[in-house]
């Protein structure tokens, strides 16, 4: 009987998913162009959030230098489009170089951090590594444009906002499928084991350092690809994309959406973009919203206080409670 219920809820989830997908496909034909842009942004940030969730939610690793992957993706796009040419061929090259670069960066980061340090030590070291990269981007003016940022033109195929919306949607769907598959693989399961109890995982014979390295690689490359898309979307890269603030954005996306859920990143980035947008719009009516960050911060405090496992966590809790109740009443009826 339990199995049947389980199946039923799976079917419902699937229906919901299909409905959501259809909605996302038709929305741009009815919405304002500002909304289309906002949702494209949400799609890209979802991938960024998911890449962070792999580390924080599945592996139990706090990376405070995560933005270095994201920002580097945007910069690689910017630099190659400016220095070489803005064609689709170069875009492919950008993707390849981003994958190689992020893989190498994750390797170096992993070699420094993973070896037996505590979570806090790891957080501090990654923070420092992130700042090093940000500083390098700021100083290397001839290539990165320094603190002024790097505006660039993009391949014509990406210029139409409506088309780009669909590219962003496809990007998000493909990355979700890949990451989901990764987390369901035997390797992904070991990451969970590491989060739960690293010592036990070691005493089962898993080389936990190696698995953590794989997790960091997958996460770093995903973040880098999200960065490429973000750069193409904005046609601009600056050092903010490499900053701690940008890392915290990922942290907050997973926090609001729910850690260790993967899909939470979609909910989180959607909710944050929505609140941010609303607060900014309110500025023109009420002067107090000039200080909109105040309200933004208050929102985070409320979320952490009342929904420690985020929206998706809350949803799962409500569902399981409803199920328990159903079971309970069934027993009573007997």
């Amino acid at each position: 009987m339990i199995k049947q219920q389980f199946k039923g809820s799976n079917k419902m989830n699937l229906l919901l998913l299909v409905a959501l997908l259809l909605a996302m496909m038709v929305i741009p034909h009815f919405a304002k162009s500002a909304t289309v842009a906002l949702i494209s942004r949400i799609f890209i940030l979802t991938v960024y959030g998911m890449s962070y969730d792999i580390l924080r939610g599945y592996m139990g690793f706090i990376n405070l230098g995560h933005a270095l992957f994201f920002g580097s993706g945007a910069y690689i796009a910017g630099i190659l489009f400016t220095k070489l040419d803005n064609t689709f061929g170069i875009f492919i090259l950008v993707v390849l170089i981003t994958i190689i670069y992020c893989s190498a960066a994750a390797f170096i980061m992993g070699k420094i951090v993973i070896r037996g340090g505590s979570v806090i030590a790891g957080a501090m070291i990654t923070l420092a590594l992130g700042e090093i990269v940000r500083n390098m981007a700021e100083r290397w003016r001839s290539v990165t444009g320094g603190a002024d940022g790097l505006p660039f033109s993009i391949p014509p195929i990406f210029r139409d906002r409506l088309h780009f919306y669909y590219y962003a949607l496809i990007f998000m769907l493909v990355m979700t499928l890949i990451l989901r598959q990764f987390l369901l693989s035997p390797t992904g399961r070991v990451l969970l084991a590491i989060r739960e109890n690293e010592q036990r995982a070691k005493f089962l014979g898993f080389n936990t350092d190696k698995y953590k390295m794989i997790g960091l690689q997958v996460s770093g490359i995903s973040a880098g690809l999200a960065g490429v898309m973000f750069g193409v979307f904005n046609r601009f890269a600056n050092t903010d994309l490499l900053s701690v603030q940008q890392t915290l954005n990922a942290l907050l996306i997973t926090l609001v959406g729910g850690t260790g859920t993967l899909y939470g990143a979609f909910v989180g980035s959607g909710f944050i973009a929505f609140v941010q947008n609303t607060l900014l719009n309110l500025r023109s009516q009420y002067p107090i919203f000039e200080r909109w960050l105040l309200f933004f911060g208050a929102m985070y405090v409320l979320v952490v206080l009342f929904m420690p496992s985020g929206f998706v966590g809350l949803w799962q809790k409500l569902i399981s409670e409803a199920r328990e109740k159903k079971k309970g009443s069934a027993v009573d009826a007997k």
């Binding site: 598959q181 990764f182 369901l184 693989s185 390797t187 969970l192 089962l204 898993f206």
Partner: protein, 256 residues
């Protein structure tokens, strides 16, 4: 005399001035069920930590299957066929019972770093996992998170995880610690069957009925040092052991 599976020579570890394990030389034979006894603080768990690689000895050497493993990591020792359980329950709490054992099985079967195949698709692993769950009597709890199991069930789960590794030698640190007394016989039963299947077992335990039933050999540790080693009868009549146990009430029970 059969070949020694695990051998230690002059094994010592000091924490500051305190020698938790002091100059211990052991030879644990293949296929025998050895129980390590000793008062609290005698260094039994520390000895396990040294053998399994959680701690590095200050002095001395450890041999496993004739090879020097003193400087090998715990992971390498597990790969060589050493499995251990912990005194305090040590499982993956939010994962299901099934997944806990399946992960252990995955570690043992060494299917490599597959990153795009679904973990449910390895039918050999799934079958073997089911077999283990049946062996430790947790089949009907397989979809429950480990944290929701009773303490006794968690102990059985932990044993199941170690059994999944199919180790040549099994280091068990008080598998019945904190278990309800009614559950102890099932644990003895599981251990007896494991022993019969040819696994060498080294046990730390306080429950005398269990020690009596299972042990081929006893080792008594006192204050970090090896006091006596021998078969249960010999050991229980040793005057030093009686003195160490303040009157020896416990060990009289063993010989009776």
């Amino acid at each position: 005399m059969t070949e020694a599976l695990i051998k230690t020579e002059g094994l010592t570890i000091s924490f500051g001035a305190h020698k938790a394990v002091n100059n211990v030389g052991l030879a644990l034979e293949k296929g025998l069920f050895t129980t390590i006894l000793g008062p609290n603080g005698a260094g039994k768990t520390t000895l396990f930590n040294l053998i399994s690689g959680l701690l590095t000895p200050t002095e001395g050497k450890i041999y496993f299957k004739g090879a020097d493993i003193t400087s090998l990591s715990p992971i390498q020792r597990v790969k060589m066929g050493m499995g251990r359980s912990f005194q305090l329950t040590n499982v993956f709490p939010t994962l299901t019972t099934y997944e806990n054992v399946r992960l252990a099985m995955q570690a043992h079967e060494d299917i490599g770093y597959r990153i795009f195949t679904n973990h449910r698709k390895f039918s050999k692993l799934n079958d073997k996992t089911d077999a283990i769950l049946e062996r430790v009597l947790l089949k009907d709890k397989k979809n429950q998170p480990a944290s929701q199991l009773s303490h006794g069930e968690q102990r059985k789960l932990e044993l199941g995880m170690v059994l999944a590794l199919e180790p040549e030698v099994l280091l068990l640190d008080e598998p019945t610690a904190g278990m309800a007394i009614e559950e102890v016989p099932t644990m003895i039963d599981i251990l007896q069957r494991t022993k019969d299947s040819g696994t060498t077992i080294i046990l730390i335990e306080h429950k005398m009925d269990m020690v009596k039933q299972l042990s081929d050999r006893l080792i008594i540790l006192v204050n970090g040092g090896l006091l006596v080693e021998g078969n249960p009868e010999e050991v229980s009549q040793n005057p030093e052991v009686l003195a160490a146990y303040l009157g020896g009430g416990v060990l009289n029970e063993v010989s009776s």
